[in-house]
Symmetry: C2
Subunit: 249 residues, 2 copies
């Protein structure tokens, strides 16, 4: 299904809150089905611009945190400010509701369904609670920034939506070669019974992309040699998959 | 984790609408982790009784359908009546909302989340729509009846709820040996942050049991020799799991 139709024509997307500063380094998963060399290229960091995508301007702030900061070195200070603004009880963690509030200030409002999926995928796996600390929050923010850049690249008419072919190409740009049958399933879900052309907003793009990312990473853990297949026991299979179903309410 | 604590003490559960007439024949999945012989026993069909579980009395009707019936031979006529009552447009199919209505007349009202999961699991795989024909509806009804009998056996105080240990034993009775880590995950989800003892009503029992059943059957398709493990390609893995996530809204 890979084609050579990837011809980005929209101008580079500005970079709200430092989104887009981090290139994709850990989300590429080579499958045996397709070679990405034909039209794959890693996301290109967007240059600062006064023209904003959906009205979000790049942050002019610079980091003022010292070595005691719980945030990773180099964290955009705007990300720190937003985290602190929503972590009102100074617990050092943001929960579902707080994350929804934080992301709303950086972009549109995400559905609680997408928020829960994001929390589940980015939380510290040793923490039984569904919440994010500074490190996890920063990682999520960087990832969303990268995906936001990709989304903007395929949203050529800047209406905030991409269609099924663009979804495929966007996921491909992020390193995921989604089987046609799976892509069809994803798209038909968003069609919701309608026969009209499906278009996904950023929330839906993040939702279905993160499902792909999460499951792919789970699979990679069992396919360390990147062979494209893995042998799983019944218990392992159930433990890999069930968390997605029960967390994803 | 298997114990010998399975000592059903409640009286047999009556059989509303023919539920419980079908023994478990296709849901047993032997895993390498545990032998069911220590306390496993197949579900026992409940004898007719004037005492009803949750007020549902056995149906006095008998089948009057001829060979042209779209229902499988031997289908309880009450099941046919309920199907026809909700299939108002005589399309020959029931959708999510109609199924919810149909099951409400046979038992409690199920959440739409559980209804969608049931439709997804029981629909004809060749039908791209989320809907059930007569055969699928009958199969679902029989399965729910079997599970209702098991649920009633473990709901010893007849308050309509079972706890975590009883959930484990009930799933075990249905042929599913759920790994402790997975069981913990399931239960913590229903705890919803509370530290109180978790109790599941029939809706929640069906929801989490059907997730287990659906994923186990998917795995069995790839482990035809019942070895307890399967080798899956990335595409196969994604195609196995994604339908659960996107159908299960």
């Amino acid at each position: 299904m890979a084609s050579n139709s990837y011809t980005p024509s929209a101008p580079p997307v500005p970079d709200p809150y430092g989104w887009g500063q981090q290139a994709a380094t850990d989300s590429s998963y080579p499958t045996t089905a397709a070679s990405p060399s034909s039209y794959y290229q890693p996301p290109v960091p967007a240059p600062p611009s006064s023209q904003s995508y959906h009205g979000y301007a790049p942050s002019p702030l610079s980091s003022s945190y010292g070595q005691q900061s719980p945030f990773p070195p180099g964290t955009n200070p705007e990300v720190i400010r937003i985290f602190q603004a929503v972590d009102k009880d100074r617990s050092g963690f943001v929960d579902d509701g707080e994350l929804q509030q934080a992301l709303s200030s950086g972009y549109q409002k995400f559905s609680l369904r997408t928020i829960r999926l994001l929390t589940f995928l980015f939380k510290n796996p040793h923490d039984s609670s569904l919440r994010l600390g500074p490190k996890e929050f920063s990682a999520l923010w960087n990832c969303l920034g990268e995906w936001h850049t990709i989304f903007g690249r395929f949203d050529r008419d800047r209406n905030g939506k991409i269609d099924a072919t663009e979804l495929r190409d966007a996921l491909y740009s992020l390193g995921y070669s989604v089987p046609p049958s799976v892509l069809h399933l994803l798209v038909s879900y968003y069609a919701n019974g309608s026969r009209q052309k499906v278009e996904l907003n950023f929330d839906s793009f993040i939702e279905c992309g993160m499902i792909i990312k999460g499951l792919t990473e789970k699979f990679k853990e069992k396919d360390k040699g990147y062979t494209g297949s893995a042998t799983l026991s019944y218990d392992t299979f159930m433990s890999m998959v069930l968390p997605f179903l029960v967390a994803y309410d």
